[in-house]
Amino acid sequence: MVDFGGWEMPINYGSQIEEHHAVRKDKGMFDVSHMTVVDLQGDDSEAFLLKLLPNDVRKLSNGKALYSTMLNKNGGVIDDLIVYKRGENNYRIVVNAATREKDLAWMEKQVESYNAQLQEKPELAMIAVQGPNAIEACLKVLPENISQQLSELNKFCAIDAENYFIGRTGYTGEDGVEIMIAEDDARKLWDDLANAGVQPCGLGARDTLRLEAGMHLYGQDMDENISPLECGLTWTIRKTDNDFIGADALQAIKDKGISKKMTGVVLSEKGILRHDQELIDENGPCGIITSGSFSPSAEVAIGMAIVNKDIGEDVKVQIRKKQLVVKLVKLPFVRNGQSNI
């Protein structure tokens, strides 16, 4: 067990690699109750989110989810999050646990000038069930009326029933759902899913799965000192009506010329890539590994890296006293069970 944002959580239940494969090939579940859920209601909710977030919540119809960053005035990333639209001016936002306090403080401060209210939902537990056979297992375990809705649920959409909030979303690169449910009901659901053959998985497998899927981890792959334009998150920035917090700073960065980019990295030799290792090309230091590990799917070391936009052809990574050859690749490494390496 490790401390994670004040929550005591398992890195692995058994073999981390077996947990990883369970999600890629079959089905696994994660207790992600540490995630911070915040509901937003009030007449100005949409207007507030347009100010708070660079992505465009107007794209959302009822029951749809959107990934966004949340920026400070300098264009740095305060956090990344998912926002679900539940109805007109009625939203549910899920932010990271490790950033909970600063996120809530920032959102509360920004919402002051709007007719909208934020309400944290600490009573909700969350179970992510992920893998090609995850939904099939959920259909067996959930009440019939919920199962009926789940069988028709599209990707990146949510069921908003009385006791269940179920998004067809995740952080693994596989199909699956994230189920928000009252804490007491969550224990029974976890046991029922386990009895249906769903493998409990820890934080360790969650990290290798999201890394293979090329999904960012806040605090490693981005933070308040880098803009989304320089770490592979430009796609979360809307192009029109850009009056969101941080927009001016992003424009200034664009005008000056964007000098960095996010890339995938595969180690061509034996070893393991890790957070903070330096990359070197013909001209010297050219980037930093932001997330690195062993890929259980591809059985090589992989990483995400922020590098100079004009990075050279021959790139090496400094691991302890050695410089080892790496190959730059497009993200993701793995998606829906298929390795691109």
Binding site: D3, I17, K270, G271, R320
Partner: protein, 135 residues
């Protein structure tokens, strides 16, 4: 409680030491250590050269973290377990046998006295666990 064979010596940093018939020592990491690391996916084997007691001489990497291996006493490494290059998981599967890491010719036999007995090592990992539970 993980398995701690009585016939071996130990270090606080979770190496085990077997004294071979020719007076050399064979070194690996304990069952407790491999279990804490989890699935081991890479071993950077030591160079066959001289080390002082406590020098880091190699690295064991699991999916979740990298952990240094230390020379338990001063001497010269004379053999490394090449099988670990392609099968690092041998350390998980057989920490005290097939998962050995290196052999060393030692400088001074008296140094062996500084190592922990199996009982002393058992106590040291129990204390670690107690501390973890207190947190």
């Amino acid at each position: 409680m993980s398995y701690v064979p009585d016939n071996l010596k130990y270090t606080e940093s979770h190496e085990w030491i077997e004294i071979l018939d020719n007076g050399n020592i064979r070194v690996g990491i304990t069952e407790h250590a491999q279990s804490a690391l989890g699935d081991i996916v890479f071993v950077e084997l030591p160079e066959e050269e001289s080390y002082a007691a406590g020098d880091d001489c190699g690295v064991v990497e699991s999916v979740k973290t990298a952990s240094d291996i230390y020379a338990p006493i001063s001497g010269t490494i004379v053999a490394v377990n090449d099988a670990l290059e392609d099968s690092p998981e041998l350390i998980n599967e057989s920490p005290y046998d097939d998962g050995w890491i290196f052999e060393m010719e030692i400088e001074d036999e008296d140094d062996l006295e500084d190592l922990l007995s199996s009982d002393e090592y058992k106590n040291s990992i129990e204390e670690d666990q107690d501390e973890d539970e207190d947190e």
